[in-house]
Symmetry: D2
Subunit: 284 residues, 4 copies
């Protein structure tokens, strides 16, 4: 059953849900799934509504136009879109392909509900993996001397692709601060530790040295502060004394795959709402 | 901040959430937390709303009276109550006290938000445990010859206590079908297996014999069909080959405690809605 | 560092570990990893030892010959092999490819340590997936009229491949009892439920109807009793009221992939020892 | 069946397990449970053996005397003791009683296998809880002016009690470095975060601010570096956007109780072996 998705956040006040649901009801919309959360500390309201598209009386553009004055009054950040207008995604990879392979598999299996525009690698290792899926692969090497130019080219590709989301699927280059800001809330990374533990390089080695009994992975939005962006999802697995760093790496791959896949899926279905350093995630 | 809780389920139709939230807004109520779920297979609508009590213009009795016609029109099962009007609970125990001790501890720590009216045991083992908490302990032995009389006495105590919930905290007597029906949706049990596996007696021994690699516990409402009632919560823990039945029993205790405590907490805060054999649980 | 693996089970008696480790020490073997378990209820002893291959004074065949009299005296089931002599595996698939894709990926990534001889499907859906990995794909349709002939052909392929393990990666045909017996302890299946719950067909639908709060998957050896074979590994994931059967199917895929991959990995590294309906699993 | 426990760690070399098991076999000992681990990076060997006590030909003191030369040759740290010679424990508490109550309950239920010598509090809140268990309660307030004297008194009590383990059950005073050193490997703490995340004060508030999606607790030995000691066990639970700091505190209590109880149990049964900052834990 086709759905129209409304995503909205705004300062909290009395009667918000009533006003929004009344608007939808007046336009004939049958609500299929409603999530609401009020962050009482921040005084902020968050909602996601899935509306049965066929019950709506207005075309999408008109619905948006009708909703705009209400949204303006609420000082809301919002979007209304057809679920069938799938988001466009660019995947980024370096030399470890497990997250890339997993995302491509889930995409083919229909778990993600998006269009993959292309894959960009700073190494060529996965060109054939990508091309045999019928997807373009762009090889853009990055080193100390060409970093600005390389990221300029990447941003051009992202723009040309009409990308709604950039996924760093174990892409091991630090994204420049200015790029992070231009694409705020639209670049998602998987960090191979349970943040905020082991920010930075070699987390599995450091987890082994520290002797932790659980290791994990963190899916988060990328910001200018390395590994400090808003967390979307985390996953852990038990580690024991007999696991060497190479074992942690192996076990961690399963955490990384799952945390990233869930984070991406939720972003693509408008289930993640950002507010400062925290995320509201209406899981499915 | 004091809250008024609305819990409602009814056949699904267009505009339900709008009508209900409009009713609350018209009465000045600020919504603190809204959960909604539509079971599209059953065509049924479920909601729970926590309203800031101080913002409501009407006394509770009047609010209920005003809401009644709308609820009747929706053919709804519903309740409106002050969160501060704590539910009354009767705990039932036999000879294993871990769930009883855990619930009493959580109750004292303020995790449960209820009044414990009394504890009933078919053995006397925990009389002192209960009485040192300042609670009445009723010893009602049950055997093949007195079962009807014993349960009649228990029902009398439950009724006199004004019980909203009866918790079978490893109470090892089968509740007669007629009692189950009179107290439908108000008797909660913890079964020491991951249902529907190992219905009936000695689940840990049978789990060991079957060689399962995870064991669990199930919190469910009691119905006339033994261990077949609607499931509220389940918890599992890993079992390995070196765990003998006695180890499974020990590990399982932690599952039982947690699954039961969560189920009870959710019932007491109107977070569990029943529909046939399934439950809608708006977790916290 | 190359290893030689000893796997052994026998009736328990005093001095077993001492006799076995003395044998290894006398032959110069340095023990890298030793697991031992005594099932006191069954009176049975299980061990797995990883020996640094380079420290052993004898060639493998001679070591086996020297060990044979001791093993005979212990009435032991045992094997000694080089870890580098990788087991040979045949994968079986029907129309759901997530487990197949996952195993192939892990095999390519070096997680499994085996040779994949070929893939057999009773449908052709995954021919290209398999062939682009450079592996042979055998299409052997099975229906009510040709079942015996089809399985005879499969057994011939298994035999020709020198298969040490047959993996039913969501292969949806029941294996005939006689085949199960000939290949006892060498056919591994993934069942899409948390056994012993939901034996048989459509477990996700039935899990939804029962309203369970956790769903799971079970990796087990195949025996003549459907879904009753010895369990090697299980995995679960939380299910909530808003998950429809299709969601359980999606969530369950991740359980299936992980439980099967771990079970296969452990079999391939001689970490699973069978005893009646139970398994001893020296996890890594 | 009574057991004698051998715990040993030493530099790795060829034939260790053979020499030790031969010693036990020569003395008639039947091995009930053997754990072994070789840390190849550190070049260190760890073992724990549970021997059927009745099968041993020598009294305990003689067995130790006979073993001493072998242990000296291996440069081993080791202990041999009867499991029935239960360790003696002192519990320490401040104003949060959930871990204390849980440990006392498990001790009464026979899960811990130790003698509780007494409880020390720097507040008096739990005097009656402790005394009704028939245990001495020592009230030793600590402030900036009396810290050295207070800890001197505590060490005297620990010594008089013959304590084998001091458990900081949410005891909120930092233990002086000199005390940590004198009682190295014998003071166990529960930290209310998933270390190394959120070292120090108020971890739940900081976890909320950071927006993590899992919170946890860490059981570790106390060293002079605050929250840096060797980790014995960790436990996590999922956190969602609707959990406020007070909810994290509530959810975290269950993690704390379980991680601490497991860590204590394993220490008391000689299942934890220390090596630098890492622990070897032969779980049960």
């Amino acid at each position: 059953m086709p759905k129209t998705l409304l995503k909205l956040s705004c300062p909290d006040r009395v009667g918000l849900l009533s006003r929004i649901t009344a608007f939808i009801a007046e336009n004939g919309g049958n609500l299929d799934e409603v999530h609401q959360f009020t962050d009482s500390q921040a005084g902020w309201f968050f909602t996601r509504m899935a509306i049965e598209a066929e019950t709506l009386r207005l075309p999408l553009a008109d619905l948006r136009a009708e909703f705009a004055p209400l949204a303006a009054d609420l000082q809301a950040q919002w979007s209304i879109r057809r679920e069938s207008d799938r988001m466009r995604v660019v995947l980024m990879v370096s030399r470890l392909g497990h997250c890339l392979a997993d995302l491509l598999w889930r995409w083919r299996a229909g778990e993600l509900g998006c269009d993959v525009a292309c894959v960009i690698g700073n190494h060529e290792d996965f060109r054939s993996t990508v091309e045999r899926e019928g997807l373009p692969f762009h090889y853009i090497p990055v080193d100390a001397t060409n970093k600005d130019a390389a990221f300029a080219e990447m941003e051009r590709i992202w723009g040309d692709a009409g990308a709604d989301l950039i996924v760093l699927a174990r892409y091991m280059q630090v994204v420049p601060a200015a790029v992070c800001e231009r694409w705020e809330g639209r670049i998602m990374n998987i960090h191979h530790s349970f943040l905020p533990s082991f920010v930075g390089a070699n987390p599995y080695q450091r987890a082994w040295e520290r002797g932790v009994k659980l290791i994990g992975a963190t899916c988060h939005y990328v910001t200018a502060d390395l590994d400090q962006g808003p967390i979307v999802e985390q996953e852990v697995i038990r580690a024991e004394h007999f696991h060497e760093p190479a074992d942690l790496l192996r076990l961690g791959r399963d955490c990384e795959r799952q945390a990233l896949a869930r984070g991406v899926r939720w972003h693509l279905s408008d289930r993640v709402l950002l507010h400062g350093k925290r995320t509201v995630v209406f899981r499915d």
